[in-house]
C-alpha cells in the first residue's frame, strides 16, 4: 500500500473518517454540525471520486478503483448527501436527536462505496455488512415509535440470515476455485462443479434478501414502513443501488449466465408478480412503495438475466430507481410533520395544500409507473429492450402486463393528491430550503434523464466495458 493508493481511495476514507468525526464532535459539542459536516464530506467524496483517474491499487487492499467503482461512489455519495439534507429537517420536526443519525448515514454510504469498489470477495462481504449494519441502526432510530424498533429487529434477524447465506456462498466458491479475487473466482467457478454451483445458489439466495426479491422480500414492507422516512429513502435509493452494483460485479465475469438463468428467472417472475399484486392491496403508502420496490427489483432481475445489454440496463436502473425513490420518499418525508404519514388517504388534497411536494410525489409516481418522459420509462425501455434482445419474450410480456397493473396503485396516490377533497383547506407549511433543493434536484433529474438519457447510457456502457 502506498501513499498514492491512499490518495486514490480517499473518497472511501473521507466517508469513514467523516462518520467518526461527526460522532466525536457530537460528543464534544452536541449541536447541529453533524449534517453540515456530513454534507461537506459527501460532496468532497463525490468530487474527489470524480477528479481521480481510475488506477490499479495494491492487491492487498482488496479494492479496485475502476471506472465502475468511481461512478457508483459518486452516485452513493450524492444519494447520502441528499438523504442527509432530507433527514436533517425531518429529524428536527419529529424530535429525532443525536449525531449518530448523520454519522450512520455516512457510514452506510461508506459501506456502499466499499461494495462498489470491491475486488475481493472478503472486501465485498465487509462492505455489504457495513452498509447493512448502518441500516439496522438507522431503521430502528426512531425510539419513540415501537414500529421503528420492531422494523429494526426484523431487518437485523433477516439480515443476519442473509449474511450467513452470502458468507457461506463465498466460502464454497473459494473452496471450489481457490481464489477470493472476484474476477478470477467467478470465471473459474464455471469449472468448479457442484460445489461452485452450491456456492452460487447460496450467494444468490443471500443477495435476493438484500435486494428484496420475492420470495425473500418479506422484511421489506415492515422495514420500509417502520424506518424514519428519510432512512427509507436512503435505504431504497442507496442500498438497492449497492446491491445492484454487487450483482454487476459478480455476474459479468461469469460470461454465460448458464445455470443461474433458471433461479434468476424465477426470482424475476415472482418479484414482478408478487410485488405488484401485493402493492395493489396496500392502504399504507410506505408499505405500498415497499412492495413496489420488490416489483421494481424484479425488473432489474429480468435485466440481469438478459446479460450484455441487460447489465447496462440494470446499471441504468440503479440510478433511475435511486432518483425516483429519493423523490417519492423525500416528498413523503417533507410532508410529514410531527408524526409519520401512514395511509394513502392522508394525502387527500395535498397537491393543492402543499403544491411543491405534491408535484414531486406525482412526478415520482408517474416515473415509477414508467410513463414517459421520465427516467423510469427510459429504464424500463432499456430493460425490456435487453430482455427481448436476449430472447426472454415470455418474461418480458409478463413484466409489461404487471407493469400495467402497477399503474393502478401509483395512480391511487395521484388521485388522492389531486382529485379528492382535502380535510382541511388551508395551505400547509412550505418545504424547508434543504428539502426544496433536494427534491427539486431529483425531480429535474427524473425528467432530464427521461428526455435525454443518452449520456447516462453511454456512461454505464463505458464503465461496464472497462
Amino acid at each position: 500500500m502506498t501513499i498514492a493508493d491512499l490518495w486514490t481511495i480517499m473518497p472511501l476514507l473521507l466517508l469513514a473518517c467523516g462518520s467518526v468525526l461527526v460522532l466525536i464532535l457530537g460528543a464534544i459539542v452536541p449541536g447541529r454540525y453533524g449534517t453540515a459536516i456530513g454534507v461537506a464530506v459527501c460532496a468532497g467524496a463525490a468530487l474527489w471520486a470524480l477528479q481521480t483517474p481510475p488506477r490499479p491499487l495494491a492487491p492487498t487492499l482488496g479494492v479496485a478503483f475502476t471506472p465502475f467503482a468511481r461512478s457508483f461512489l459518486v452516485l452513493f455519495a450524492v444519494t447520502a448527501l441528499l438523504s442527509l439534507l432530507l433527514a436533517h429537517d425531518h429529524a428536527d420536526r419529529q424530535g429525532l436527536e443525536g449525531e449518530e443519525y448523520p454519522a450512520t448515514i455516512l457510514f452506510g454510504a461508506f459501506g456502499m462505496g466499499v461494495v462498489a469498489s470491491a475486488a475481493n470477495f472478503l472486501t465485498l462481504f465487509l462492505g455489504l455488512e457495513a452498509l447493512t449494519f448502518a441500516f439496522y441502526i438507522l431503521v430502528a432510530y426512531d425510539r419513540n415509535r415501537p414500529a421503528s424498533g420492531e422494523a429494526g429487529l426484523k431487518y437485523l434477524l433477516m439480515g443476519a440470515v442473509s449474511a450467513a447465506f452470502v458468507a457461506f456462498g463465498i466460502a464454497l466458491l473459494y473452496g471450489a476455485t481457490g481464489s477470493l479475487e472476484i474476477g478470477r473466482a467467478v470465471a473459474a467457478s464455471a469449472a468448479g462443479g457442484g460445489i461452485a454451483l452450491a456456492g452460487w445458489g447460496l450467494l444468490l439466495a443471500g443477495l435476493a434478501f438484500k435486494v428484496s426479491l420475492a420470495p425473500a422480500h418479506l422484511w421489506t414492507p415492515d422495514v420500509y414502513q417502520g424506518g424514519p422516512t428519510p432512512v427509507t429513502a436512503f435505504l431504497a435509493a442507496g442500498s438497492k443501488g449497492a446491491a445492484i452494483a454487487l450483482f454487476l460485479l459478480i455476474l459479468p465475469p461469469l460470461g454465460e449466465i448458464g445455470p443461474l438463468r433458471a433461479p434468476l428467472w424465477g426470482l424475476a417472475l415472482l418479484s414482478m408478480a408478487v410485488g405488484n399484486l401485493a402493492a395493489l392491496l396496500q392502504p399504507n403508502v410506505k408499505r405500498m412503495l415497499a412492495y413496489s420496490s420488490v416489483a421494481q427489483m424484479g425488473y432489474v432481475a429480468l435485466a440481469l438475466l438478459s446479460g450484455g445489454r441487460g447489465y447496462e440496463a440494470a446499471a441504468f436502473y440503479a440510478v433511475a430507481y435511486g432518483v425516483m425513490s429519493l423523490a417519492a420518499f423525500g416528498a413523503l418525508a417533507s410532508l410529514e410533520q410531527e408524526r409519520p404519514l401512514e395511509q394513502v388517504d392522508e394525502l387527500r388534497g395535498i397537491g393543492y395544500r402543499r403544491p411543491f411536494q405534491g408535484v414531486v410525489l406525482a412526478v415520482a409516481m408517474f416515473a415509477l409507473a414508467g410513463i414517459p418522459p421520465t427516467v423510469g420509462f427510459a429504464g424500463k425501455f432499456a430493460i425490456f429492450f435487453a430482455a427481448l434482445r436476449a430472447g426472454e419474450t415470455p418474461l418480458a410480456i409478463i413484466g409489461i402486463l404487471t407493469a400495467a397493473a402497477s399503474a393502478y396503485y401509483y395512480l391511487r396516490v395521484v388521485v388522492n393528491l389531486y382529485m379528492k377533497p382535502a380535510e382541511e383547506a388551508a395551505p400547509g407549511p412550505l418545504p424547508t430550503p434543504a428539502e426544496a433543493v433536494c427534491l427539486g434536484a431529483v425531480t429535474v433529474a427524473i425528467l432530464a434523464l427521461g428526455v435525454w438519457p443518452g449520456p447516462l447510457f453511454d456512461l454505464v456502457e463505458a464503465i461496464l466495458k472497462a
Partner: protein, 496 residues
C-alpha cells in the same frame, strides 16, 4: 421562419405556453386570455401551414409525400431519432388539433371556475402531446407523445369531471396503458426483427416501412399495435372506457377526447400499423370488418337507449369511429381518404355536439333527455345549432359527415360488397336516435318550464364557425381530398 423548425414549434409552442402561465397562476382572469392567446397563435401557425405547406418544395431528406421534415439524433445507442414529418394526413390532423383546442378553451370559458389556470395548463400540455403524436415518425418518439397526452386528460377528467369522475379517469388511463405497453414491446420487437433481417437497426418509420416485417411474429406484433389503437379508437369490445370517460369528463375534456384523442388511434393504425405490417394487416381485415360493423350497429342501438345526452353522443362516437375503422380496414384509396376525412368531420361535429350538451348542462344542471322539451320556443339559436349538428352527425347530405361516410361506403363496396351492405344499416340507425333526440329535446311540448337563457355571443360564434366548416366540407370537400391524395396513394400503392 425557416421551414426546418416549424414542426418543432408546433409541438413546443403550447408547451412553452404552459410555462408562461406560471407567473399568473393565481390570476385566472389573466391566465384565461393568455392561454387562449397561445392557442390562437398555434391555430394561426397551423392555419398558415395548412395554406402554405402543400406548396412547399419537399424538405431535403424527406420521404416521398412529406413536405415538412425534421430529423436529429436523440438516443443514438438504441437508434432512436427525433424524427418529425408532415404529409397531408398529419397536416389535416394538426389543423384539427389546433382548432379544437381553441374550441375547447372557449366552451369552458365560464364553466370552469375552480383551479382555472391548471385547467388551461393541462389543455395546452395535451395540445403539445397530440401535436407530437400526429407529427412523430420515430416509433419511440411517437410512443412518448402517445403516453404524454394521457396524463393531462387523466387530470382533466379526475379533477373537473362529474359523477364517477375518479373511476372514469382511472379506467381511461389503465385501458390505454395496457394497450400501449404491449405496443411498446411490439415496437422493440419490430426494431429487433427488422434490424436482424436488414442490418439497419432503427425506429424510424420511413426506413422500417421500406422493408415490411415478414416474420412469423408479424401477426402478434401487429396484434399488439392493433390493440393499442383499437382501445383509443375505440373499437368494440374494448370501447367500454369511452362512455364513462365522456360522460364524466368536463365539457372541454369531452370535446378534446372526441375530436382528438379518438383520432390518434385511427391515425396510428393508418400511419404505423398498416405500413409496418401490410401482410399481417391483411390477415386481420375480416376481424376488423366484423368489429367495426358490430361497433356501428351496437353503438347505435345503445345510443338509442341512453337517457343522458352526453352518453348518447359518446356512443354515437363509437358508431362513427366504426365507419372510420371500416374504411381503414378496406385499405383502398377511396375508402381510406373517406376515413381520414371522416376523422376530421367527426372531430368538428362531435366537438360541437358535446359543446352544445355542455352549454345546456351549464344552464339547466342536467343532461337527461327527459328533462327537456320544447326548447325551440325558448332557445331558438341553441335549438338551431343543435338541430344542425345533430343532422350533420346523422349524415345529412350537404353536410360534412355525409361526404366521409359516402366515400367509405363506396370504397368498401368496391372491395368487399357484403361488408359495405351491412354497414349501410349504420347510416340509417343514427337517424333513428338522432330524430328521437331532436324531437324530445327541441320540439315536443315543454315537460316542465325551464327558463333558460339563449346562447351568448361567445357560444354562438364558436358554433357558427363550426357550422360553417361543416357546411363547407359538406359541399366542397375537394381541397381536403386533394391534400390527402398523395399520401393515400403512397400508402395504398394505388392512385385514387
Amino acid at each position: 421562419m425557416t421551414s426546418y423548425s416549424i414542426l418543432t414549434i408546433l409541438i413546443l409552442l403550447p408547451l412553452a405556453g404552459c410555462f408562461c402561465l406560471a407567473p399568473v397562476w393565481n390570476r385566472p382572469e389573466w391566465a384565461r386570455p393568455l392561454a387562449l392567446g397561445i392557442a390562437v397563435a398555434e391555430l394561426a401557425l397551423a392555419g398558415w401551414v395548412l395554406v402554405a405547406a402543400p406548396g412547399m418544395p419537399p424538405a431535403p431528406g424527406a420521404a416521398a409525400g412529406y413536405f415538412l421534415w425534421e430529423d436529429a439524433a436523440w438516443i443514438e445507442r438504441f437508434g432512436i431519432r427525433y424524427l418529425l414529418g408532415m404529409d397531408g394526413i398529419s397536416l389535416l390532423m394538426v389543423a384539427l388539433t389546433a382548432f379544437t383546442t381553441v374550441v375547447a378553451m372557449l366552451v369552458s370559458w365560464r364553466g370552469i371556475t375552480e383551479r382555472a389556470t391548471l385547467h388551461y395548463f393541462l389543455i395546452l400540455l395535451m395540445e403539445s402531446g397530440i401535436m407530437g403524436v400526429f407529427l412523430s415518425l420515430d416509433l419511440v418518439l411517437f410512443y412518448l407523445f402517445w403516453e404524454v397526452m394521457l396524463i393531462p386528460m387523466f387530470f382533466l377528467i379526475g379533477i373537473w369531471g362529474h359523477g364517477r369522475r375518479i373511476y372514469s379517469a382511472v379506467k381511461f388511463f389503465l385501458y390505454t396503458l395496457v394497450g400501449s405497453l404491449l405496443m411498446l414491446l411490439a415496437i422493440i420487437g419490430v426494431y429487433l426483427i427488422h434490424g436482424d433481417a436488414t442490418g439497419t437497426f432503427t425506429f424510424a418509420l420511413p426506413l422500417l416501412a421500406k422493408s415490411p416485417i415478414a416474420h412469423a411474429a408479424a401477426p402478434w406484433l401487429f396484434g399488439a399495435f392493433l390493440l393499442a389503437f383499437a382501445i383509443k379508437f375505440p373499437l368494440f369490445p374494448v370501447h367500454t372506457w369511452l362512455p364513462d370517460a365522456h360522460t364524466d369528463a368536463p365539457t372541454a375534456g369531452s370535446v378534446i377526447l372526441a375530436a382528438l384523442l379518438l383520432k390518434t388511434g385511427a391515425y396510428g393504425l393508418v400511419r404505423f400499423g398498416y405500413p409496418l405490417f401490410p401482410e399481417a394487416a391483411k390477415g386481420f381485415t375480416p376481424l376488423l370488418y366484423v368489429l367495426a360493423i358490430i361497433g356501428i350497429l351496437y353503438a347505435s342501438w345503445i345510443a338509442y337507449a341512453q337517457e343522458d345526452m352526453k352518453r348518447m353522443v359518446a356512443y354515437s362516437s363509437v358508431g362513427h369511429m366504426g365507419f372510420v375503422a371500416l374504411g381503414i380496414a378496406s385499405w383502398g384509396p377511396v375508402a381510406l381518404s373517406g376515413s381520414i376525412l371522416q376523422m376530421v368531420n367527426h372531430g368538428f361535429t362531435t366537438a360541437a355536439l358535446f359543446a352544445l350538451v355542455g352549454m345546456l348542462d351549464e344552464r339547466a344542471h342536467t343532461r337527461e333527455v327527459s328533462a327537456f322539451g320544447g326548447l325551440w320556443g325558448t332557445m331558438p339559436a341553441f335549438s338551431f345549432f343543435f338541430l344542425f349538428f345533430a343532422m350533420a352527425s346523422a349524415g345529412l347530405p350537404g353536410l360534412n359527415n355525409f361526404v366521409g361516410e359516402f366515400l367509405i361506403l363506396v370504397g368498401v363496396f368496391r372491395i368487399t360488397p357484403a361488408a359495405g351492405a351491412i354497414a349501410f344499416l349504420g347510416i340509417v340507425l343514427p337517424l333513428i336516435y338522432t330524430v328521437r333526440l331532436v324531437q324530445e329535446v327541441l320540439f315536443q311540448t315543454e315537460r316542465r318550464p325551464l327558463r333558460l337563457p339563449d346562447l351568448t355571443l361567445r357560444e354562438g360564434a364558436v358554433l357558427a364557425v363550426l357550422a360553417v366548416i361543416d357546411l363547407y366540407i359538406g359541399v366542397h370537400p375537394k381541397p381536403l381530398l386533394d391534400i390527402l391524395k398523395v399520401p393515400v396513394a403512397l400508402l395504398t400503392g394505388v392512385a385514387p
